[in-house]
Structures are given as structure tokens and as C-alpha cells.
């Protein structure tokens, strides 16, 4: 590969300046003349029949412009894999927070007053609140009695189970002979692991601003990821064709998978009825109830191993409870299985996962897309096996790691797997063989894990570039900037291709109508997919550029190259012209600039196809696999290591040191990769030790930042005790060898802490979060000989 000049360098982020000055525009900052303010009345019950709704008092309040209920909305459901979500509830509410009525008023104060004047009479119904209950053949309640007749949606997967009325997706993998595998094993161990509901906690409150245009089209600003899927949802509900709908992709105040729930139709309904712009900002409580949450997954693992640690059989069952809006749970139900197949060689593998409705808050897409919860189970189980076999935790992992070119348990051929190098670096960092000394009531321990995170397929991402008269590049890419640095990555790729500095690439504002299509910020795909689109679009633009320049230089286009805003004949650095020379009227005092042949633009969409798997066996066609066809785009790999101190009197766990090593292929911007790694540490420390969105009988207990505790700076170890490292295994199809990895950064930290707690005090916490209460109880149980 030619030497890189911009890619691989830590150039400053292109969005940093406007963010430190406060001038970056977020959807929540949008204000339009004549704008109305929306508020939504939500269900206080987990499951109830709506007997009556009286909106008359609200309608009479001065300043109220519109009150809408379910009967005012189109009779269409939206959603991801299954269209299960009405715009506003019609006859029944299926969770606390389900939208029942909406108000548009001249001020926020009036809108807030108005929703309190709406009188709804409910008749409570029996609710199904427990995942194991819901998944059974005789559940306490059925969330969607008409489920089997619901339409299939555009995103994700569904496979109903005729015997289990709440199941919206059942996914299976079958490889080898599981019974034979267990027979061959010297040790069989099984266990159950559970995880908590975790909120994304993006700091920007979910916001929608809908502006109705005179011609009937809509312009929408929405603080979310997945604008293209949101556009598709709006089309389902209102029949708005793509050219009639423009979703602006503003800067987004954090995503982490928050784009899976679609409430834009509510504000759109109000805007269409009033013919006025409408702004709807969620409260923080509404973000908890309806923003989607990490699925509190239940994972059963049964492993069979040989004495030397070789895995011979693994059987897993996962139950994924979703609220009444599936919100990508169908997708997660299938894709979380990749967490179980991406790292280790498992010759005999049996997997079943069930996505199931309950009468709870919405859960679904969340950073890690299910791999986090699955690997929380696996990475503890690996330590438990190692202990029983008398092996060390590094050795048992190394023994079972997949090799380049080897088929994994879905039949997909492994490529670009840097996990062993990651593990090596982390073993060197934490030195698991050296047991740390405790002091007083504090006991110390170490934990180490490995992790993988796939990037999904099929998917696509596009880019368009325009060569400006000054030789700079205007970049119109489809990737969403949610804080991860997509704008900078795309700008670096364009700068690399044109041989210019990043400040000469101008990333243009984005929306779903004017920007090229890209699926969105999910599954860590944008660097790989849109990055390839950007690279191809630049190459396309350069072809056009060279065709214009070739006659002037008296050579053929393929003899030309560009650097620093000049086009030159390869190998003859004096035979060249400046890009502005191709434009008429660019000279000072000129009336403007144009190129007689039309604008010099490049345009490309990178499409990542896949080999469809079989939802009943999970296996891909071996012939296609042998030809290089994949199930996913790529896999990122990592290893994590921690040292903790555990207080034996209070159960408190303190993380003293933490290290992560990640394989992201070629890093496009190393400092931005570090940002992801450190951010993953911060998010994982909260999600492991304190974060749990709690409910009692379906009623949320802590939907706010006072009682739900994400990590503050206080929870982060001292700067000197945090180590982030790279172990790149370049991907043959990634741009310059890059892969996406921003989700994998938090996977395995939870299990590493659990392993370290066990190492410190001998109690194993199989249920997230690893709270002081749980550790203390486990210590007492252990003392009491339980």
C-alpha cells in the first residue's frame, strides 16, 4: 500500500471548533417563526384498555392549537422488523409511556398545562412483565393479540413461534452435533447470566421539529441516528414519498443506538393538522420510557471442554425482552448470536434466541447490539472453566481463538482477527499471574477478557464530492455525525485521495433528500461502508478532473495524478496545471466560475452484500463462503483488563486500573480511536457498576439522572491508570484496511470486572450491575456457607 499522508494521522476534528464555541446546531436548538410546541400525554399503566378520552378542556385552553388522539392519526403501525407501533394508542396501552394524546400549543407552558387537562379513563389489564413468563407457551398476558397478522417491517428479522404468542423473533444456529460434543467433553458446565436495562443517556434530549412546506412536503430536524429508516417510517404512516420528505441530519448530542424508536409521526401529525411548524422535545423521563434501552437479556450457557481447555460444545439460549415497540429487538435477537461465534472455535454449537414482547419500556438497539450481553456471559464462563481445569484465563482463551481463514460456527470464514495480539497486550499490561496485595477491608483482584463485535450486512453508504474552483473539495456524504467523528473520517479520506490537507475539504450539511443514502450510525459501519463510498466517489471525481485536464497537458487522463490542488503528469512534476485553471472566470474580478463541461463531481455508493443465512440453522451456504461471501461486513476485536479493589464490609467495587486493546484495522485517526476506547471505558464502568433502569410491577422507579447513575468523572480511574492500545489487523475490503469498532469498545469490560471481583474475594456476580449490595450479599452468603 502506498504511504498514507492524511489517513492514519490524528488531525483535529473538523467539528471541534463550532462545538467549543457553542455554535454547532443541534436539532434541539432549532427554532422557526410561528413554531408550536408539542407535549404528549402518556400511559401511566403497563397494560390497560382505554375506555374514554375527553380532550374538551384542553381544547378550550387559550393558546392550544390542536389536540390529537389515536383516532386522528392514520391507522398505520410502524416499527422495524414487525410493524407493531401505532402513532398514538387507539384502544389499548401496552406500557407505561405509550403515547395516548398529543397537544400543540403556542408555548411550552400552555402545552404542559393542556395535557394535564386531558381526561383519560383506563381499565387496567393483566400485564406480562417478566421475560421468562412472556416467552412461555402460557404467558400471563399477550402484548399483541393480533401479532401474527402484523405487517413485516423493513429492518431486521422476524420469525414467529406459533406456540409462543409473545415471541416476535426466534433465531437458531445449529453446527456439528451438540450431543456428541458434550459426550466428548471432559467437563460440562452450565450457568445463567442476566443483565440490566441500561439507558443510552445521550445528553441531548430527543427532539423533533417538523416544518410543513406549502407544497405538502415536510422538513424534519430530528436528534437521532438512523434518519433514513425514520424517513421510511414516515412514508409508511403518511405515504410521503422520498422527494416529499427531508430529514435534516444535524449534529446529534449522542446516539449509542438511540435511533431505534420512531415518535416523529406524532409531531408530524400535529404539524400536518395545524399547517404550522411543531417542536417536540422529550423530557428526560420520556427518553427513559420511549428512547429505547439496552435489552435486559437472560443468557444460558452450557459448555463442554477437554482437559486441556479445548472447547468442544457450546449450547446457548438467550431471551430478549422488548417493550411493545420492538425497536430493533428482532435484529438484535439474531445479531447478538454473532457475539457468540466471532471469537472462539466451537465445533459443536447450538444457539436459540427469542425476542419477546413484555409490557415494559422500549428496549432494542443499543451500542453493542446484543453482543455485550452475550459476551458478558461467555467471558465469565471462560474463567469459570479455566478455574475448574486449573488453567490460567489467558491460556484457555488463546487455545480457542479462531484463526484467519477458519470457518466460525455460522460457516463464515474468519478474516482480519487481531484478538490474539490484543490479548497479548492486555496480559502484559495487567499481569494476571501476579495477585495484588489487599489492604485492610479492601481486597484486590484482576480480570481479563476478549471481545468481538461484528458490523452487519447487507448495507450501503454513499458519497458525492464536488471539485470547487479554488481546488478545494465540497463533500456530501451520507454518514451521521453523532459524536463519533464520521465527518472527520470522511474528510480525511477525501483529503488523502486528493493529496490535500483536511482543511481544504468542506463537509456539507446533510439531509435525507440531498445527501447520498447511507443506512446510518448503527453497527459501527460508517467508517467501513461510507468510508469506502467516499474513497470511490473521490476516485470518480478525479477521473472527471483528469479528463478535463488531459487535453491541456497533451496526455491521456490515466497519465495524470493530483496533489495539493494541482494536476500533474505522473513522473514529470513540471508538467502540470492548477485546478482553478479549469474554471472560467475564476480570476480576481471575474464574474464567477464555471467549467464548460459541467461541474466536476464524483459519485459512488459502496454496497456490502452478504450471503443470507438460514434463520433456522444460522448457516451460510458453504460454497458461497468459500468464494469469499460473508454474513457480516467485518468483525472488530479487542481485549480488556482491569484491576479492582473490593470492600469486604460494604461490597463496593472500585476499578483501580483499566486497559483496553482494540483491533480496528487501520486506524483512520488514532486520537479519535482513543476517544472511542476511553468513551467505551466510561460507558462500561457505569453500565457495569451502577446503571440499572428499574421497574416495580411495570412502573419505572428511576427514569431520571438523579436516581439513575451513569459514570461521572469520579468513577474513572486516575489518568495514569488508564491504558488504551491498538492491535490492528487490516481488513482487505475496508478503506485503507479500516474496520468499524466503536461498539466493541465496551464489550467485555463488565465481565473483566466480574472476573476481577471473583479474583479478589471469591464471589461471582452473574447479574448486572455489579452493585455493592449484590457483592455484599454474595460475600455474606459465602461466609454463611451457602
Amino acid at each position: 500500500m502506498a504511504e498514507l499522508s492524511v489517513v492514519g494521522k490524528s488531525v483535529p476534528r473538523v467539528d471541534a471548533l463550532i462545538k467549543v464555541t457553542g455554535s454547532a446546531k443541534f436539532s434541539s436548538d432549532v427554532k422557526v417563526p410561528g413554531m408550536l410546541y408539542a407535549k404528549v400525554l402518556r400511559s401511566p399503566y403497563p397494560h390497560a384498555k382505554i375506555v374514554s378520552i375527553d380532550t374538551s378542556k384542553a381544547e378550550q385552553l387559550p393558546g392550544v392549537v390542536c389536540v390529537a388522539t389515536g383516532k386522528d392519526a392514520p391507522d398505520k403501525r410502524t416499527g422495524s422488523a414487525t410493524l407493531d407501533q401505532p402513532v398514538l394508542a387507539r384502544d389499548v396501552v401496552c406500557a407505561v409511556g405509550d403515547p395516548v394524546a398529543a397537544v400543540a400549543a403556542k408555548s411550552l407552558d400552555i402545552a404542559e398545562e393542556a395535557i394535564e387537562l386531558i381526561d383519560v379513563k383506563y381499565e387496567e389489564l393483566t400485564a406480562v412483565l417478566d421475560a421468562e413468563d412472556a416467552v412461555s407457551t402460557q404467558p400471563t398476558a399477550v402484548v399483541h393479540p393480533d401479532l401474527f397478522n402484523y405487517e413485516k417491517g423493513p429492518f431486521g428479522h422476524r420469525r414467529f413461534d406459533p406456540d409462543r404468542p409473545n415471541v416476535m423473533m426466534h433465531y437458531s444456529i445449529r453446527r456439528g452435533d451438540i450431543e456428541q460434543g458434550f459426550k466428548e467433553a471432559d467437563l460440562v458446565l452450565e450457568d445463567k447470566f442476566t443483565t440490566a436495562m441500561v439507558q443510552h443517556c445521550p445528553l441531548e434530549l430527543s427532539t423533533t421539529v417538523v416544518i410543513p412546506e406549502e407544497d405538502g412536503s415536510l422538513t424534519i430536524n430530528a436528534s437521532r441516528s438512523l434518519h433514513q429508516p425514520a424517513r421510511s417510517v414516515m412514508r409508511t404512516v403518511f405515504g410521503l414519498e422520498p422527494s416529499k420528505l427531508k430529514l435534516a441530519m444535524d449534529y446529534c448530542g449522542g446516539s449509542f443506538g438511540r435511533g431505534a424508536v420512531f415518535e416523529e409521526p406524532i409531531a408530524a401529525l400535529l404539524a400536518m393538522k395545524t399547517r404550522k411548524p411543531v417542536k417536540h422535545v422529550f423530557t428526560r423521563e420520556e427518553v427513559f420510557l420511549r428512547g429505547g434501552n439496552r435489552i435486559p437479556m437472560i443468557v444460558y450457557v452450557k459448555d463442554g471442554v477437554k482437559k486441556d481447555g479445548t472447547l468442544v460444545a457450546r449450547e446457548m439460549t438467550a431471551i430478549l425482552p422488548s417493550g411493545p415497540s420492538e425497536a430493533f429487538t428482532g435484529l438484535v435477537t439474531r445479531n447478538c448470536a454473532f457475539g457468540a461465534v466471532g471469537t472462539y472455535r466451537v465445533p459443536n454449537f447450538k444457539w436459540d434466541s427469542y425476542g419477546v414482547y413484555i409490557n415494559g419500556p422500549t428496549t432494542g438497539g443499543f451500542r453493542g447490539l446484543g453482543s455485550t450481553q452475550v459476551e458478558f456471559a461467555i467471558e465469565q464462563h471462560m474463567d469459570m472453566l479455566a478455574e475448574k481445569l486449573g488453567l490460567d484465563p489467558v491460556k484457555i482463551r488463546r487455545k480457542n481463538i479462531l484463526r484467519e481463514g477458519e470457518a466460525n460456527a455460522t460457516g463464515e470464514i474468519t478474516h482480519s482477527i487481531g484478538v490474539e495480539e490484543c490479548l497479548y497486550k492486555m496480559a502484559k499490561f495487567i499481569k494476571p499471574e501476579e495477585k495484588p496485595e489487599g489492604e485492610g477491608v479492601w481486597r484486590r483482584g484482576k480480570g481479563i477478557t476478549v471481545a468481538n463485535k461484528y458490523t452487519l450486512a447487507p448495507t450501503a453508504g454513499g458519497c458525492r464530492v464536488k471539485v470547487c474552483a479554488d481546488g478545494n473539495i465540497a463533500l456530501y456524504h451520507g454518514a451521521e455525525e453523532v459524536g463519533q467523528g464520521a465527518d472527520t473520517v470522511m474528510a480525511q479520506i477525501a483529503a488523502e485521495e486528493f493529496g490535500i490537507s483536511v482543511d481544504r475539504v468542506k463537509v456539507q450539511p446533510k439531509d435525507t433528500l440531498n445527501s447520498p443514502y447511507a443506512m446510518g450510525a448503527c453497527s459501527s459501519q460508517q467508517t467501513f461502508i461510507v468510508g469506502n463510498g467516499a474513497k470511490l466517489a473521490c476516485q470518480d471525481a478525479k477521473r472527471g478532473l483528469f479528463e478535463r485536464a488531459a487535453p491541456r497537458l497533451g496526455v491521456s487522463p490515466d497519465e495524470l495524478a493530483t496533489k495539493g490542488g494541482e494536476i500533474y503528469v505522473k513522473g514529470m512534476s513540471d508538467k502540470k496545471l492548477r485546478i482553478p485553471e479549469l474554471f472560467t472566470g475564476y480570476a480576481p474580478g471575474g464574474y464567477g466560475s464555471y467549467t464548460p463541461g459541467g461541474e466536476i463531481i464524483g459519485n459512488a455508493t459502496y454496497v456490502q452484500i452478504n450471503t443470507p443465512d438460514n434463520l433456522e440453522t444460522g448457516q451460510i451456504d458453504p460454497e458461497a463462503a468459500a468464494k469469499g461471501m460473508r454474513l457480516n461486513t467485518s468483525y472488530a476485536h479487542s481485549a480488556k483488563a482491569v484491576e479492582v479493589a473490593v470492600n469486604t464490609e460494604t461490597g463496593q467495587v472500585k476499578v483501580l486500573r483499566i486497559g483496553v486493546a482494540d483491533d480496528m484495522g487501520q486506524p483512520i485517526n488514532p486520537k479519535m480511536c482513543e476517544q472511542q476506547q476511553e468513551g467505551g471505558i466510561g460507558m462500561a464502568l457505569g453500565a457495569t457498576l451502577t446503571e440499572e433502569f428499574m421497574l416495580k410491577e411495570g412502573i419505572p422507579l428511576n427514569p431520571n439522572f438523579t436516581d439513575y447513575r451513569m459514570a461521572s468523572v469520579n468513577e474513572i480511574p486516575p489518568l495514569d491508570n488508564i491504558e488504551v492500545m491498538f492491535a490492528p489487523a487490516p481488513h482487505k475490503d475496508g478503506p485503507y484496511g479500516a474496520k468499524g469498532f466503536a461498539e466493541g469498545v465496551m464489550i467485555g469490560i463488565d465481565a473483566a470486572i466480574a472476573n476481577a471481583v471473583y479474583n479478589a474475594v471469591g464471589v461471582r456476580i452473574k447479574d448486572l450491575p455489579i452493585s455493592a449490595e449484590k457483592v455484599l450479599k454474595a460475600l455474606k452468603d459465602k461466609e454463611g456457607g451457602k
Binding site: 471541534a16 467549543v20 457553542g22 445528553l203 441531548e204 463519533q484 476511553e678 468513551g679 466510561g682 460507558m683
Partner: protein, 159 residues
């Protein structure tokens, strides 16, 4: 019920008509269009609305605008100097990659400014304490603390 009050914001006296229950954050964002002030929780937990009131870092979602009468208020929009040069904290946040989604950034910078104005010799522990009321979901805080320490050094040497 609305009242006319005067607020001195970023050195300029502004006269605004407010309702007595409006928070300072609401007035800054919705009335004065100073949208660099963010709102993330309205319960004083996240710190995105942090501004300086008489030099102290205050969560403006918890302060009634009425209570800010006669006080000097500084928001992120007032941080550049007269020549338009970035404050050392703003520059350090860029140079040290302390910015990701950018939503916590204005509040973080204002909280850090209150600290450095008071004590430009703060230790890592003191910086952490000063930022402990400001949440960030993207960065894990590492580069934010590094940026504040770097800005402090620059301020100390008069850079």
C-alpha cells in the same frame, strides 16, 4: 404576570420579559437564543446548562431567571476575547480531542473556567472535583481532564 428584567450577559445589558417561573437556562436559550447553553435533564444533574454567574459555575436550569437580576452572566458565546481568539480552554478542547458529540462541551468548558479563574494551579484531583457535576456520555472524561490541565498550564505561563 410576565415581568421585565435586566440581565447582564456576556458584558451586554439585556432587557427581557419573563415569567417568574422561568429558569435562567430557558431564558438564555428560548428568549435570548443563546443556544450554546444546553439542557439535558432539567434536574441539575447533567451540567450541560452550566454558565458563570458572578464568576461561579451555576447550573442555569436550577436558577430562576429572576434570581439572576443584577448579576454578571457568562455563557460559552462570551468566551472568546475581543479579537475573537479562542479562550485557552476552547483551544485545548480542540487540540486534545476533548470534543465528541459536543453537547456537554459548553457546560464542561464553563465549569472548568470557573475553576481555573479561581485556581490556575489545580491538580488532576481538583479538576475532577470541579467537573464532577458535568456528565459526558462520549469521552469517558479522559481527554477532557487532559485538556483542562493543558489549558491551565498555558494560562499559567501566560500563553
Amino acid at each position: 404576570m410576565s415581568q421585565l428584567i435586566k440581565l447582564k450577559i456576556n458584558g451586554v445589558m439585556e432587557e427581557v420579559s419573563i415569567e417568574p417561573w422561568w429558569s435562567l437556562a430557558y431564558v438564555l436559550r428560548e428568549v435570548l437564543n443563546l443556544t450554546g447553553v444546553k439542557v439535558g435533564c432539567e434536574t441539575g444533574n447533567c451540567g450541560t446548562c452550566t454558565v458563570l454567574v458572578d464568576g461561579k459555575a451555576i447550573k442555569s436550569c436550577l436558577l430562576l431567571a429572576m434570581k439572576a437580576r443584577g448579576k454578571e452572566i457568562t455563557t460559552i458565546e462570551g468566551l472568546k476575547d475581543k479579537e475573537g481568539t479562542l479562550h485557552p480552554l476552547q483551544q485545548a478542547f480542540i487540540d486534545h480531542f476533548a470534543v465528541q458529540c459536543g453537547y456537554c462541551t459548553p457546560g464542561m468548558i464553563m465549569a472548568a473556567k470557573a475553576l481555573l479563574d479561581e485556581n490556575p494551579n489545580s491538580t488532576e484531583e481538583e479538576v475532577r472535583a470541579a467537573l464532577s457535576g458535568n456528565l459526558c456520555r462520549c469521552t469517558g472524561y479522559v481527554k477532557i481532564v487532559e485538556a483542562v490541565l493543558a489549558a491551565e498550564e498555558k494560562i499559567r505561563i501566560g500563553g
